[in-house]
């Protein structure tokens, strides 16, 4: 018996379905979403599976409502998620910022497609990398994970829930059409081996005078939930530890610095990368998501031709693993950045790299073939 969760074992599964099953294992019991290709299978599977484990599914009237519904549900203590693609992600931005401001754990899965605008709904893109970082107005530090396989879509969805609960904020999984629709092997480990994080709740009883729902003595304050009896006030206005709005530079300084430093101070714990033949590499391909698959192939072939090529794959893109990239750049002569956009992650890479950085931009609609990346490696090696 697994309480209706997917049992441990080996599967051959679609990426989007793996994401949904992972969310259930992570403890997600509320999903609100609006149909959009190529993320639909997540909502469809959730509508079938969530009620089987006692959870709630609702299809909302739009993506603005979807993100707000999951923020509302999370404030009542239930782990919540939505899934979308570019146009829906754009609609969510204002309230992703609201979730950041009121420090609400939740997970947003963006199965990226080609843009801008309606773009290429059924084909791949990586055009939302920067939107994930700075899409909402004001200052905050996003957390975003980028999977490159069905297995990783599963693993990172659980990680996203854990990070959301740990740091009390919305966390983004930036998948893409190819990963979402790809069928691939999945190993579900024994459930007791899967790390699950639950948000901290206040350790004082309701009714204590001067209870502070955003108590500054914590890096991440325990979360008081609706109905627990703490009688809290929660606002998207700039607020103090008590949750009360104040229009002063002093309170704003505390509020904004608190939001960014809880992530900046823990960035190294959140960073995850994969290294491939980097030790002596002087040509380094920095890549992420689906693009890492042709890049890996290209680096392998380049090595067989005697070129000292290596690959750094960003699994966490936000907060940006700047120290890791900087270190890699110290020994590299050239960094190549293939991405399915006109140059997005190249910017933070350039900001920290101590060598030449060349972008290999590629319009949405198809994944680069290994040859495209291999040609670039060969030409810079000459």
């Amino acid at each position: 018996m697994t309480d209706g969760l997917i049992p441990p074992g080996k599967y051959f599964m679609q990426g989007n379905i793996a994401c949904a099953e992972a969310a259930l294992i992570a403890g997600c019991r509320f999903f609100a979403g609006y149909p959009i290709t190529p993320s639909n299978e997540i909502a469809q599977w959730m509508s079938y599976r969530l009620p089987q484990v006692g959870g709630h599914f609702i299809q909302m009237e739009d993506e603005i409502a979807s993100i707000m519904a999951i923020i509302g549900a999370s404030n009542a203590g239930v782990k919540s998620m939505t899934a979308t693609s570019g146009p829906g992600f754009s609609l969510m931005q204002e309230n992703i910022g609201f979730g950041m401001m009121i420090e609400t754990p939740c997970v947003i899965v963006n199965v990226q497609r080609g843009g801008p605008s309606t773009g290429i709904p059924t084909l791949v893109g990586q055009g939302d990398m920067m939107q994930a970082r700075w899409g909402s107005h004001g200052d905050y530090e996003a957390i975003a994970y980028v999977p490159n396989s069905v297995q990783e879509f599963f693993d990172l969805t659980i990680k996203a829930f854990n990070a959301a609960e740990e740091y009390r904020q919305p966390v983004i999984v930036l998948a893409d059409q190819t990963i979402g629709h790809m069928y691939g092997p999945l190993v579900v480990p024994p459930h007791e081996e899967i790390k699950i994080v639950n948000r901290k709740l206040p350790n004082v009883p309701p009714g204590v005078p001067d209870f502070k729902p955003f108590d500054a003595k914590y890096e991440v304050a325990p979360m008081a939930l609706a109905g627990m009896g703490y009688r809290i006030h929660v606002t998207g206005l700039t607020h103090d530890e008590k949750g009360y709005p104040y229009y002063t530079h002093e309170v704003s300084t505390w509020c904004v610095k608190h939001l960014v430093s809880k992530i900046r101070n823990n960035a190294e714990k959140i960073w995850e990368v994969e290294r491939f033949t980097l030790d002596d590499a002087d040509i380094v391909v920095i890549t992420y998501g689906i693009t890492s698959r042709p890049a890996y192939q290209a680096v392998k072939v380049a090595r067989s031709e005697g070129i000292k090529a290596g690959m750094l794959r960003l699994i966490t893109v936000w907060p940006f693993p700047e120290e890791v990239v900087r270190k890699v750049s110290e020994q590299a002569k050239v960094i190549l950045v293939p991405e399915i956009n006109m140059g997005q992650m190249i910017h933070p890479i350039r900001e920290v790299a101590e060598c030449l950085v060349i972008g290999l931009s590629w319009a949405p609609g198809a994944v680069q073939t290994p040859d495209v990346i291999l040609d670039a490696i060969r030409s810079v090696s000459r």
Binding site: M1, G4, Y48, H56, I58, M68, A69, I70, R231, L237
Partner: protein
């Protein structure tokens, strides 16, 4: 001689954040009256304050939760309803009341509003209709009566406005009422009734905004609007809702009342049944 202290506590202190007073509302504004009626309804509801939750959007009316000593969520402009939807679905035992302005709930938030009514979510919506966007400076919105002089309609409002009770009733809401800030007893009773309704309960409260609406539209003080309410209001619970449009011109009645009060299953009832069925036939994984 020291002054005699008659009271150290206001009877509503339990439900009001006294440390947040003075409030931001203008003299003559009706929002404070709405708040007092809500406080009275909570006291009479028999539901402990810990189970009451108030949710708002953005605007003068939406600042009300900031003064309520219960769990209170001040969300974003137009989005109080979807926030309440999520909270209500996962915790049906919370007594959620959404209180926000007309601009918030039915102009920017109109889409959420109609769908929440259609699905019959189980919470209360108290809409403060002051005919304008108070907070941003008297612009026109979907409830501004035709002909009104507004900061963005200096030649007069040329659009038709919503007939809210008709709209809400047409979507099947089990409870629909309209009162004004003059009708404190009826409004309190209506909020109390709303709390007992299984499903979407809607109350439109017509409320003075002397600063941003009244000033340019012949109601320069809150009292002028209250006098108008006294003269124009006709209580008609059985009103034909096609005829309850608001028309502020002299001689036209302002129809108020508890217009609709029916029973029907709420979204929570349906959701509970769906989950029961799904849990029985656990597939594909047992």
């Amino acid at each position: 001689m020291p002054k005699e202290v008659l009271a150290t506590k206001h009877p509503d202190d339990e439900l009001i954040r006294a440390d947040r007073i003075p409030h931001i509302w203008c003299p003559g504004c009706g929002i404070g009256i709405v708040m007092k009626c809500y406080v009275e309804a909570i006291k009479r509801s028999g539901i402990p304050p810990e189970r009451h939750v108030v949710v708002s959007g953005i605007g003068c009316s939406s600042r009300l939760p900031g003064y309520m000593n219960i769990d209170s969520y001040h969300t974003t402009h137009g989005r109080a309803i979807p926030f309440a939807v999520g909270m209500n679905i996962v915790k049906p035992d919370l007594e959620i009341t959404v209180i926000a302005g007309d601009g918030d709930l039915v102009t920017i938030g109109g889409n959420h509003f109609i769908h929440a009514i259609r699905r019959n979510h189980n919470f209360n919506v108290v809409l403060v209709n002051n005919f304008t966007y108070g907070m941003t400076g008297g612009q026109y919105g979907a409830t501004t009566p035709i002909g009104s002089k507004m900061s963005t309609a200096p030649y007069g409002m040329i659009e038709y406005s919503f007939n809210l009770p008709l709209l809400v009733a047409s979507l099947g809401a089990p409870f629909v009422a309209r009162w004004t800030t003059l009708h404190i007893r009826q409004l309190t009773d209506a909020i109390l009734k709303a709390m007992k309704v299984n499903g979407f309960a809607f109350i439109e409260v017509v409320s003075p905004c002397p600063t941003q609406y009244g000033e340019d539209n012949n109601f320069p003080t809150g009292m002028d609007m209250m006098k108008y309410f006294r003269e124009a209001c006709v209580v008609e619970h059985e009103a034909d809702l096609r005829k309850v449009d608001i028309d502020l011109r002299p001689g036209k009645p302002l129809i108020v009342g508890n217009f609709v009060h029916i029973e029907k299953p709420s979204y929570n009832d349906m959701d509970r049944k769906l989950i029961e069925i799904a849990m029985k036939g656990r597939k594909p994984y047992g």
